[in-house]
Symmetry: C2
Subunit: 313 residues, 2 copies
């Protein structure tokens, strides 16, 4: 028998930093509400399913957090405030441009009048300056809140708290659920306490994670604009699965993408139609990002959604 979402929350205690995050979320949304801002919740990165209480091993979902972190920058550029709810150590907006050794290759130390100074190499200066100025502006304007999760259970607790904070914004909130959330988990009471011994090969029995879109759409943020994602590796299933989800949960859009081509093409599936967005190889090579087009389309659709829902009232 599958677990219900009520059961899941009843059986998994909230994460340690939960109260603190709940307050951050609530006060951030209140400040945006006062400024009459639209707010998008972007979820990003994969969730883990621990195989042991003292976790050494876990099942993970493939996700670097690219979709979410890139989209966040474009939402901010378009005037939205963003709650960026992301997997710890996955990509973050702005800093994603300077991963790993890249930073050290961008700078140089020079001697001037016997004093060493650090300088940015000329070819990187403009890019670094641009990103830095945007980042500081966003911080100064209080338009970005970042909160982190690692496990599936942490994700689900944080997601509900974010929804409860956002509900007061009504149709001005977008939920952009780009995180790669596990479909399966191991119930807490079946977890091994210590590292699984390697004396014999274990069998891991997984349970289905309750479909959280159901209470999210119908109970937590019933007036918000909700966008979910569908990632597949089998082209034949992609659009039908996306449309099934839309019919089942009655939310606004599903962004359908294939694992292999997700940076080059997505299909935005709505009740009305399938809308394909794609980049040419030439555009990709120039560094254009498909998230810019996705966000532009969404903002249009969100605007139409706000107008039509206000007409109804």
């Amino acid at each position: 028998m599958n677990t219900t979402w009520e059961d899941f929350y009843a059986k998994h205690p909230p994460p340690q930093d939960f109260n603190q995050n709940e307050i951050l979320l609530k006060t951030f949304v209140e400040r945006q509400l006062k400024k009459d801002k639209k707010v998008v919740l972007v979820t990003s990165g994969g969730t883990t399913i621990p195989l042991e209480h003292n976790t050494v091993r876990f099942v993970d979902n493939f996700s670097a957090g690219t979709r979410g972190s890139v989209s966040t920058e474009y939402f901010l550029e378009n005037g939205y405030a963003v709650i960026f709810m992301y997997r710890l150590n996955s990509l973050e907006p702005f800093s994603r441009h300077f991963k790993g050794q890249k930073l050290l290759d961008m700078i140089d130390v020079s001697e001037q009048n016997g004093k060493s100074t650090i300088t940015v190499l000329p070819q990187y200066k403009e890019k670094l300056m641009k990103i830095f100025c945007k980042y500081k502006e966003i911080l100064n304007q209080d338009k970005l809140l970042q909160v982190t999760f690692t496990t599936l259970s942490e994700y689900l607790w944080l997601l509900r708290a974010a929804c409860q904070a956002l509900a007061c914004l009504k149709n001005k909130a977008i939920l952009y659920l780009a995180a790669a959330v596990s479909d399966f988990y191991i119930p807490s009471n079946e977890l091994s306490i210590h590292k699984i011994s390697s004396s014999g090969p274990p069998t891991i029995s997984l349970q289905l994670v309750p479909k959280i879109l159901a209470p999210l759409v119908s109970l937590w943020v019933p007036q918000a604009f909700v966008v979910s994602f569908k990632l597949e590796t089998d082209e034949n299933l992609l659009i039908s699965k996306a449309r099934n989800a839309l019919n089942k949960y009655k939310h606004n859009l599903v962004i359908a993408n294939m694992l292999q081509t997700r940076k080059q093409q997505v299909t935005i599936v709505s009740q009305e139609d399938n809308y394909i967005i794609s980049l040419t190889s030439d555009q990709l090579n120039k560094g254009e990002e498909i998230e810019q087009s996705i966000v532009n389309v969404l903002i249009d659709k969100h605007q139409t959604f706000i107008q039509s829902s206000e007409k109804c009232n």
Copy 2:
């Protein structure tokens, strides 16, 4: 029946970039041999076990790559050349100091004579300068080679190639096997081709990974100084498991550590004794790193090992 290591290599094809990495490893070691350098192979980060051929989901091992990336810096500081074999996107030496948003918080843009310049905030300048200079020096001196893996199979292919390259250094090579390698895997022919459907909860059957230390010690680098790691969550098993490994594989040292206290205490287990290294909370708060002490002890032991093996010849 458990797979043998020969079987594993026979059934899993080499990764795509394997030939290229093989050449990099071979030529790097040859250059060090000419300079009469000691070389350490540091493995770092966790391996993944894909659950699907088109991988969306995988089982992963907890590891940020701290032990390996930090130790690499200390080996370099002590004159060793290092092959840093690490999990893609895990921590790397030097750049590990500037993770995530940290960089953007370290710099500022100032206006001078109508020109914008990027400057490092004074409180970070010394640290950044020091790390940058070390990094450039290491690159200029050709003392560091970095190669990456993601899956268990990529790790095993790369490890054997590194060993084969290092064999010619004889007792001048250290193997410092800090990577968190999976004990289990799903045989390639039992993998699902596409993303596992979430219509029913799956059961995952895992097989034991062949113990690669056996051929490594007895066949691939029989004259090298080999150090393995043992991570446990149950204190009662830690030392006995480390000692069992040492008796079974006949290598030089096992570094035993508990998941919960691994940054504060390790036990270096040798045929002769157990040697505990620990940091006080005060030392930890000051930013001291236990890897510095581990590396110092290892270098001493490696020196003794070289002298005693040369006496035998």
